[in-house]
C-alpha cells in the first residue's frame, strides 16, 4: 500500500511539473500574495481545536510555497497576522504567537533548506508590537537568510496597510527633517514640498518586493482586510471558495490561468502609472 502511494505521489508530482512546463509558455507572475483565511472555520468544520486549523493551514502554506517556487514565482507574501488580530481573545493570540515562534525556530534549525534554495525571509510589519521572543527570533531568521537572492518570502505580521502607509509617511518626515537639519537650509518653499512619492514608497514595510501580480484570499471572501492596499492597484484579486487549509494545486492552477488571461490588460494598466 505504501509503495502504491509512493508511485501515485511520483506520478502526481510529474504531472504537476508537466503542467508547469506548459504554463511557463505564458506570463509567470513575479509576485503572489496570500491571505490565509479560513483556519478557524476549518477547525469548526472538523469539530477540532482551533490550533489544529492553524497547523493544517501551515501545511497548506508549505504546499503553496513549493508550487510557487517550482513554477518560478520569485516573490511570495503571506498575511500571517494583522494588527486587528490583536483584538482576538488573548488565548487565541498567544496560541498564534506560539505557533509562529515554533515555525520560525524550525526555519532557524533547518536554515540550510532556505539557503539551499536561495530564499530570503523578511518579516514585514510593525514588529515592535510583537513580544520580545517572537521579534528577536524573527530578526535572527531574517539575518540568517539575508544573503539569499533567488527568491523572497515575505511574512506580514503585526501588519495593516494603513499602518504601513502611516509608518512610511512618518519615516519620510523624519528623514526629510534630518536632511534639512544637515543641509542647514532655511528656504521655506523648499521645505513646503519636500516629500515625494518615492520617499514614501521606499519606507513601506513591503519595499523589498515589487507590487503583487495576484492576491489570493481563500474562503471566498472578497475584501482585502487592510492588506497590500497601496501595492495592489493593478493586481488580479482571486477569491477561491476553499478554506485556507483546503487550498491545493487546483486553486493555484486556476489562479495562474486566470492571471495569464488578463495579464496583457493589467500590464498595460501598470505601464500607465
Amino acid at each position: 500500500m505504501g509503495r502504491i502511494n509512493q508511485i501515485y505521489g511520483c506520478l502526481v508530482s510529474l504531472l504537476q511539473k508537466c503542467i508547469f512546463r506548459i504554463l511557463s509558455v505564458g506570463p509567470i507572475p513575479n509576485h503572489i500574495a496570500f491571505i490565509m483565511d479560513g483556519n478557524r472555520r476549518y477547525s469548526k468544520r472538523l469539530n477540532s481545536m482551533e490550533g489544529d486549523g492553524h497547523k493544517a493551514g501551515f501545511s497548506a502554506l508549505k504546499a503553496m510555497l513549493k508550487y510557487c517556487y517550482e513554477f518560478g514565482v520569485r516573490y511570495v507574501t503571506v498575511y500571517a497576522f494583522s494588527i486587528d488580530n490583536f483584538k482576538r481573545n488573548p488565548e487565541q493570540v498567544q496560541s498564534l504567537m506560539d505557533l509562529m515562534l515554533e515555525k520560525i525556530e524550525g526555519v532557524l534549525k533547518d536554515e540550510s533548506v532556505f539557503n539551499r534554495y536561495g530564499i530570503r525571509i523578511i518579516f514585514s510589519g510593525n514588529l515592535g508590537l510583537l513580544s520580545e521572543p517572537v521579534r528577536s527570533t524573527a530578526e535572527r531568521a531574517m539575518l540568517a537568510t539575508a544573503k539569499n537572492t533567488t527568491a523572497i518570502f515575505s511574512v506580514c505580521v503585526a501588519y495593516t496597510s494603513t499602518n504601513e502607509i502611516l509608518h512610511a509617511v512618518q519615516k519620510s518626515c523624519e528623514e526629510k527633517w534630518d536632511e534639512i537639519a544637515a543641509s542647514d537650509s532655511s528656504d521655506q518653499d523648499e521645505m513646503h514640498h519636500r516629500i515625494k512619492l518615492t520617499d514614501i514608497e521606499k519606507h513601506m514595510y513591503m519595499a523589498a518586493a515589487p507590487d503583487p501580480d495576484i492576491i489570493i484570499r481563500t474562503s471566498g471572501e472578497t475584501r482585502l482586510s487592510n492588506f497590500l492596499l497601496w501595492q495592489s492597484a493593478n493586481c488580479y484579486l482571486y477569491s477561491p471558495s476553499a478554506l485556507w487549509p483546503e487550498i491545493g494545486f487546483r486553486q493555484f492552477l486556476w489562479g495562474i490561468l486566470n492571471f495569464q488571461r488578463i495579464h496583457f490588460y493589467l500590464d498595460k494598466k501598470r505601464k500607465q502609472l
Binding site: 488580530n85 502607509i165 502611516l166 526629510k176 527633517w177 472578497t222 484579486l237 493589467l266 494598466k269
Partner: protein
C-alpha cells in the same frame, strides 16, 4: 566534427519542436477554459434576466440600508460611455442606494461630472450635502455622487505627508509625544480631507472592467471594502447589479477578530 554539427542541428530542431508543442498545448488549455466559461456566462445572463423580471424570490427584497456607501470603479477607456454610467446610476437610485462614489484612474468621470449630474434629476455632489464624511441615517431624498481619480490616491497621500511634515517641523521634531500626536491614523484621515481627498470608506466596490482589480482606488479608503467584479461596462445588466448588492447584504465581517 560532422557528427557534432549534426547532433547540434538535431538538438536545435528538437528544442524548436518541443517549444512549438508546448505553445500548442498552452493555447489548447486556454481555449478549453474559454469554452468552459461560455456555459457559465450563459447561465449568469439567464439568472440576471430572471432577477430583473422579479422571478427569483430572494432578490425581491433585501436590506439595502446595510449598504451605506457604494463605490463604482470603471476602466478609464469605458468611462466615456456616459449613457451606460447614467443608466447604472439610475438603477442604483431605483434600488435605494443613497451614496455612490465613481472612480476611474484617469479622471474621465471627474471631467464629465457636470454632464452626469445634469442628466440625473436631483442628484447632488456628496461634499455639497455633507460637511464632514459622516453618513447620516436620516432619510435623504436624493442620491449623492462623489467623483474620484488617481490623484485622490497616492498623490493625495504625498500631499498629506507634506502637510504632516509642516506640523512635524513646527512642533520641534524631536519630541516623541508630539510625534505620537501627529502621526496617527485619524490625523492622516483628517489631513487627507484637508487636501481634498477625504471621504467615507465604501462598504462595497463594484469593478466594471475586464478584471477583478481596484485600479488604484484610494488605498486609505478600502481596508474592509468588499470588492466584486461585474464584467465590462458595455455588458452591464440590472440583474447582476441586484445580485451583487444582495450578496453584500448577506456578508458577515469580523474585522480581524
Amino acid at each position: 566534427m560532422d557528427f557534432n554539427k549534426e547532433s547540434q542541428i538535431l538538438c536545435s530542431w528538437s528544442a524548436q519542436i518541443e517549444n512549438r508543442l508546448l505553445q500548442l498545448l498552452w493555447h489548447l488549455i486556454h481555449v478549453t477554459i474559454d469554452l468552459c466559461h461560455f456555459p457559465l456566462r450563459i447561465a449568469n445572463v439567464l439568472e440576471s434576466y430572471l432577477i430583473s423580471w422579479g422571478l427569483l424570490g430572494r432578490y425581491k427584497s433585501f436590506h439595502v440600508t446595510k449598504l451605506r456607501y457604494l463605490a463604482i470603479v470603471v476602466d478609464s477607456e469605458e468611462a466615456y460611455r456616459t449613457s451606460k454610467i447614467i443608466k447604472l446610476l439610475q438603477w442604483l437610485e431605483a434600488i435605494g442606494i443613497k451614496h455612490v462614489c465613481l472612480y476611474d484612474y484617469e479622471g474621465v468621470l471627474k471631467k464629465l461630472k457636470d454632464f452626469i449630474l445634469e442628466k440625473l434629476d436631483g442628484t447632488i455632489l456628496f461634499w455639497d450635502a455633507h460637511e464632514n464624511d459622516v453618513l447620516s441615517d436620516s432619510d435623504q431624498q436624493h442620491m449623492t455622487l462623489e467623483f474620484v481619480s488617481f490623484s485622490d490616491g497616492k498623490e493625495a497621500v504625498v500631499k498629506a505627508a507634506n502637510v504632516l511634515f509642516m506640523k512635524y517641523s513646527t512642533s520641534g521634531a524631536t519630541d516623541q509625544n508630539q510625534k505620537d500626536k501627529i502621526f496617527t491614523e485619524s490625523q492622516m484621515s483628517n489631513t487627507l480631507k484637508t487636501v481634498g481627498s477625504g471621504g467615507p470608506e465604501p462598504d462595497l466596490l463594484l469593478v466594471y472592467g475586464p478584471a477583478r482589480c481596484h485600479l488604484g482606488f484610494p488605498a486609505w479608503r478600502i481596508p474592509y471594502t468588499e470588492i466584486v467584479h461585474m464584467g465590462p461596462l458595455k455588458s452591464m445588466n440590472y440583474g447582476s447589479l441586484v445580485k451583487a448588492i444582495y450578496k453584500f447584504t448577506m456578508v458577515q465581517r469580523n474585522y480581524g477578530r
